[in-house]
């Protein structure tokens, strides 16, 4: 059996290099066919009648006029008379018709009446909530004694609202049946291998009869792991109509019901010795992720393990669709709450925050040495020591400030299977039931494959996005790159071992004496006893070689647990409250990096997404009607290209990181950005703006109140 390791740094042809993503040509030319772009012969278009009320009971429902309209092929009642609807834009009836226009007309022809019921959507005021419960309560050390003994103590209130995933490609799918029990579904999903079982379960057919295909994927961020009720509706309508059906959510539903990140509010007390040593933490936090409550709780205090601490989290129920995993679930909230309170404490201590965090680096767990070097590196890159000033200094209406935050994430590799085939003509391909969300998964797999066989990227093919390929985990929690790189490496090494067996006799050597070097198979250390790859492949005979690989498995190819530090430089116009980002710097570790280019892109993207929720994003639910008032891209504000400032990314590389193996990167770099920007604004204007996003109203309000929440 081969040894499952990564090649030594000096022998790497691809790993760690900057490789442009292989699907770039398809994506930039419009040739990439996303699920939303799939058009099948005879395909019908589906629309959904949604409930306009946050809480209501259906008292009348008549679909007969819709059913009898020309062109309408299926009308499916999802929730019938008597059902109590718990959130706005929940699905009631789905219609499939020969065109979107007809489907739209049919939806309008449905007669429905509701009895309105009281709703609650303003969880910041948790005392008014009809339903809430303690989700977590724990204590470590002796917080009361530490509170009494703390030489400097601050109290603060902080809040971060629910935000939407707002995937560019909405949730949805095209469903097509062959006969009565064979379903093919082109889904916009993060879990190609996981979805067939979900469809099969609801449709009562064997899982093996369901094929899910995701050729390209227009963004998920944690919200696309479910077949969803609209997916089942789509399949059912396709079955009834005996025609393919396309059903994708409208933008308002995409924003309101297809995924959000729970809110978090907290009253925090934190204390330290005069020299800055943290001794005490107490927090009472609450939040909501809709009708299912807060969906877990933020890990408080975040990263910094204050020795004496107590925390309580209350889960509040609101009339809003259930939250979904949003990039690094619960961490951005925890980071914002913690780093804001700690920065406020540093200000009270009259300590420079960088010194304050370095002073407490020992509380940052097993990788505190990495945090220390990341803090130093980040500070160097932004010029912290030269440019930092105490809070609120500066002349004129435009105030500049610096802020920092740090974060952690696990990212243990998921289960992944890969099948590698070596053809007699030397072509090599890999198949995985994985998916590329834009993270570069396909490119990374190709790099590992090419690396292992000593080939160029043009010599290998990667097939993903189809549940008929060997099962691979869903892409969530930064688990993908570790999983697919490991399964691919193992499968490729296993296939190579078989090739070695075939060619060894011809080289007059044993298979275990062979190695790949410079595009050829050779006897170890003996270049004159070698065979080019093509010639070697020709010797495997007419039948291709296949081999599989599985993660987890033996060897040391991946790990979990990463950290990162981010710093922000902002300017705040204190007359208008408008915040502008001058610069964001991210320093991030993630073990062994396969593709430096797409890895950096993940971090750049995370900084931008972080800037977005720091400055603009917020799900605005109307206290009067319960509706999401900004369920559009006009008032659900996202930054444009001119709104994010100068970005700088530094990936931690080198032996210390290399030897850990591959660790995922999707979640961690989005965690700190909001906190770092909030801290920079506090540094600029001299007072804490207690809420994200840092909109002019909140900035001006904080200035007017002088910082008291």
């Amino acid at each position: 059996m081969p040894e499952y390791n990564w090649p030594e740094p000096s022998k790497r042809r691809h790993i760690g290099k900057r490789t442009s993503r292989l699907d770039g040509p398809d994506k930039t030319t419009g040739h990439a066919t996303y699920s939303y772009d799939v058009n099948r012969p005879g395909m019908l278009f589906a629309k959904i009648l949604t409930c306009p009320h946050a809480h209501a009971k259906i008292t009348k429902l008549d679909v007969s006029a819709a059913k009898s309209m020309a062109g309408v092929k299926s009308v499916r009642i999802t929730q019938d008379v008597g059902t109590e609807i718990q959130w706005e834009l929940d699905e009631i009836v789905a219609v499939a018709a020969t065109s979107e226009e007809v489907a739209d007309d049919a939806i309008r022809a449905i007669q429905i009446e509701y009895e309105l019921l009281p709703h609650f959507v303003t969880e910041e005021h948790k005392d008014k909530a009809p339903s809430s419960e303690v989700a977590k309560e724990e204590s470590t050390g002796d917080p009361d004694a530490a509170a009494a003994a703390a030489e400097v103590k601050i109290k603060g209130f902080y809040g971060i609202p629910a935000i939407s995933h707002c995937c560019m490609e909405p949730h949805g799918q095209v469903c097509e049946w062959e006969g009565q029990d064979q379903l093919t579904a082109w889904c916009s999903t993060q879990a190609v291998s996981g979805l067939p079982g979900q469809f099969a379960d609801k449709l009562e057919i064997p899982t093996s009869n369901v094929r899910v295909i995701t050729p390209y994927m227009g963004g998920g961020f944690g919200s696309k792991f479910s077949a969803d009720r609209w997916g089942i509706d789509c399949a059912e309508m396709a079955k009834e109509a005996q025609a393919p059906v396309k059903l994708f959510l409208e933008r308002n539903a995409e924003l309101a019901v297809a995924g959000d990140r729970p809110s978090a509010y907290a009253k925090i007390e934190v204390g330290a010795k005069k020299d800055g040593t943290l001794t005490y933490w107490s927090s009472e936090s609450w939040g909501s992720g809709g009708i299912a409550g807060s969906r877990g709780s933020p890990p408080l205090p975040y990263v910094v393990e204050v020795p004496n601490r107590r925390q309580k989290h209350i889960s509040v129920v609101t009339n809003s669709a259930t939250a979904r995993a949003w990039r690094a679930p619960n961490h951005p909230q925890a980071c914002f709450l913690t780093m804001s309170a700690l920065e406020d404490l540093a200000a009270a201590l009259k300590m420079e925050p960088l010194d304050f965090f370095l002073k407490n680096v020992g509380l940052m767990g097993e990788r505190s040495d990495i945090y220390e070097s990341e803090l130093q590196k980040c500070a160097d890159l932004i010029g912290w020591k030269q440019r930092w000033h105490p809070r609120g200094e500066g002349k004129g209406p435009i105030k500049q400030g610096l802020g920092l935050a740090l974060h952690t994430w696990g990212g243990r590799a998921h289960n992944s299977n890969c099948e590698v085939t070596v053809y007699p003509d030397g072509n090599v391909e890999a198949k995985l039931g994985s998916q590329d969300l834009g993270t570069g998964t396909k490119t990374v797999i190709a790099m590992v494959l090419a690396e292992t066989f000593g080939l160029g990227l043009d010599d290998v093919k990667v097939h993903i996005g189809d549940s008929r390929y060997p099962a691979s985990g869903g892409s969530g929690g930064s688990t993908t790159v570790g999983g697919v790189s490991s399964s691919t490496r193992r499968a490729a090494l296993n296939a190579l071992a078989q090739v070695f067996e075939k060619v060894a006799p011809g080289l007059d050597a044993a298979a275990d004496q062979l190695e790949i070097e410079n595009g050829a198979i050779q006897v170890k250390g003996t270049p004159d006893r070698s065979l080019s790859w093509r010639k070697a492949a020709a010797r495997i005979g007419p039948t291709p070689i296949t081999a599989s690989g599985k993660n987890p498995g033996p060897g040391k190819l991946n790990d979990s647990g990463v950290g990162g530090v981010q710093m922000a430089d902002v300017s705040v116009d204190v007359e208008t409250g408008v915040v502008k980002i001058n610069q964001l710097v991210a320093v991030q570790d993630c073990g062994l990096i396969i593709d430096l280019k797409t890895a950096e892109s993940q971090v750049y993207g995370a900084l931008i997404m972080g800037a977005s929720y720091a400055l603009m994003e917020e799900k605005i639910l109307d206290p009067v009607s319960g509706r999401m008032l900004n369920a559009d891209m006009e008032f659900y504000k996202l930054p444009g290209i001119g709104d994010v400032g100068k970005l700088e990314v530094h990936m931690m590389t080198g032996e210390r990181h290399d030897k850990r193996g591959v660790i995922g990167l999707g979640e961690p770099p989005v965690i700190s950005t909001g906190a770092a920007i909030s801290n920079a604004v506090a540094n600029a204007i001299g007072v804490r703006v207690p809420y994200l996003p840092l909109t002019p109203d909140r900035v001006l309000d904080a200035l007017a109140k002088g910082g008291a929440a």
């Binding site: 442009s20 993503r21 699907d23 770039g24 040509p25 398809d26 994506k27 930039t28 030319t29 419009g30 040739h31 990439a32 066919t33 996303y34 939303y36 772009d37 058009n39 278009f45 065109s99 979107e100 226009e101 707002c166 995937c167 560019m168 490609e169 909405p170 390209y216 994927m217 227009g218 963004g219 961020f221 409208e250 933008r251 969300l437 834009g438 993270t439 570069g440 280019k597 797409t598 950096e600 892109s601 993940q602 750049y604 993207g605 995370a606 900084l607 931008i608 997404m609 977005s612 559009d632 891209m633 006009e634 996202l638 930054p639 444009g640 290209i641 001119g642 994010v644 970005l647």
Partner: protein, 212 residues
Amino acid sequence: MAKEEMGEQAASDLSRRDFLRGGATGALTTGLIASVGSPAEASSHGKVLGPGAVSAKLKINGKVRAVEVEPRTTLLDALRNRLDVTGAKRVCDRGTCGACTVLLNGKPVYACSVLAIEAQGQDIVTVEGLGSPGELHPLQAAFIANDAQQCGFCTPGFVVACKAFLDGNPDPTLGEIQKGLGGNLCRCGTYAGIGPAVLEAAKALKGGARNA
């Protein structure tokens, strides 16, 4: 303007006028509006079409294609749902995000906010018309080199918007790029690559590379 282009412009003007006179229309339906004079009274030129489907001709990436559309069908939906031209994406569908950007007579527009029937007689260029995987437009090549796409769903609209931007400003600064591309949004956060990509493409286009 080159001779050929003038000829083409004149031809497209003609076909547009023909259409407006009802030359290319299906059955006329009237009478929806009781309080208004009949179309015949209104004008022999201003015929009323619809509300049912009418035949239309759209010139997409240089090819004229016939399509049945209702007056309410947007250009974006006609492209995606009826003509299987899916490069332009439907994201906000309300003229905000730019994912559906196409060129109409060389100008960038949100295809979600244009009716298909009013796009007749005009040159419609989608991202597919700029280049192909085998023959990339310099902008597309620069997007790849600078990793200016992640999930890629906003990318076609961005590429088209960048094309229009460079047509108007062939030698931009990064600041001008950041100000001049405010009509497109990305969720993955690819802006860090887009700025350098546009600068690189500007250089390549000036250097005599294919200027489509």
